[in-house]
Symmetry: C2
Subunit: 192 residues, 2 copies
């Protein structure tokens, strides 16, 4: 998606440790007109896959998920990272290690909101080694739902999480794949 690549080049900041900060449009301040285009692009990529539910993970996936679900005219479910008083006990869970936060947490989805009648498109902001997506895929599999695929805004290609999922036969569509970043020059290079 050329508009996304241009925004990454214009607004993204590269930090040591392979951190690409895009919080000006993707995960702190959210450029909603742009995110509508993201929603439309994922719809174009998955419109023939029978999707009837969008699944994402709090927090950065939610705005993306909402605008993707709008295009599919279907519900959005977001997996939660901690057990709160307001979630009933009957949940699917998976453990996920966060690249950003450097810790392991439980993600969970209420069993009421995912079942064998669902065909699920998982969406998220970033895909690096694939921990979050793998956790969500585990939850989809445990629920008996079918996985339509995974839609990612920015994939860090050099961490190969996306490649491993594709090798398993999972449809993974990333709107931009970063192949290399250099925090000294600030340059970002995309996979062709």
């Amino acid at each position: 998606m050329d508009l996304l690549k241009q925004k990454i080049l214009d607004e993204g900041e590269v930090y040591e440790g392979n951190i690409l900060k895009v919080d000006g449009f993707l995960n702190h301040r959210i450029d909603i007109p742009f995110m509508r285009q993201v929603g439309k692009e994922f719809h174009r990529l998955f419109k023939d896959d029978g999707v009837n539910k969008i699944l994402t993970i709090e927090s950065s996936g939610i705005a993306i998920g909402a605008l993707v679900a709008q295009e599919f005219e279907c519900p959005l479910v977001f997996a939660k990272k901690t057990k709160t008083k307001n979630i009933a006990g009957d949940v699917y869970t998976s453990k996920v290690e966060s690249f950003t936060h450097g810790k392991v947490y439980d993600v969970m989805v209420s069993k009421r909101f995912l079942d064998e009648n669902d065909k699920v498109l998982i969406v998220d902001d970033f895909l690096a080694i694939g921990n979050a997506l793998n956790g969500l895929i585990d939850i989809v599999n445990a629920s008996g739902a079918q996985l339509a695929g995974c839609g990612v805004v920015i994939e860090k290609g050099f961490q190969h999480g996306g490649d491993k999922l594709r090798e398993k036969g999972i449809k993974v569509e990333s709107l931009a794949i970063v192949e290399k970043m250099d925090h000294e020059t600030g340059m970002v290079y995309f996979r062709d």
Copy 2:
């Protein structure tokens, strides 16, 4: 908003401790077509107030905020609850005690995303004693931005956070105000 009140009556569950669970449409599984109507309703209520930025707090506010921001054709900023590697140091912060989680946390917004040129509509899913909204209002005030008002999906009127904000002259619009709940009968009563 009659559609919301009907959904609360049809789908809401009342638990001991004044907990109203609406995670079937508002904060776990999100009914996106319904949430679009919520976005349009907040736009109707605040369209003459010069809003150019929507502010909410992770996680349950984000989907609402995205669909409100879509109506205003403006950016959404969501306040974060913990300091992550991906937020730069220059932030506005406020302390908020969570009714749901029973703990105090810091909320923060990057100084880059809120300033004196902004007229801010704060949106959130619930308003009880008003802790989250007060924290966000503190952040708006610290930034020098103007506060257009607060839009809340469900206000718990019997906890009076909304009334206190209105007494201060802040425009607070709630789409449903629950005046009383009874966890033994499951009944929910709305303010007229």
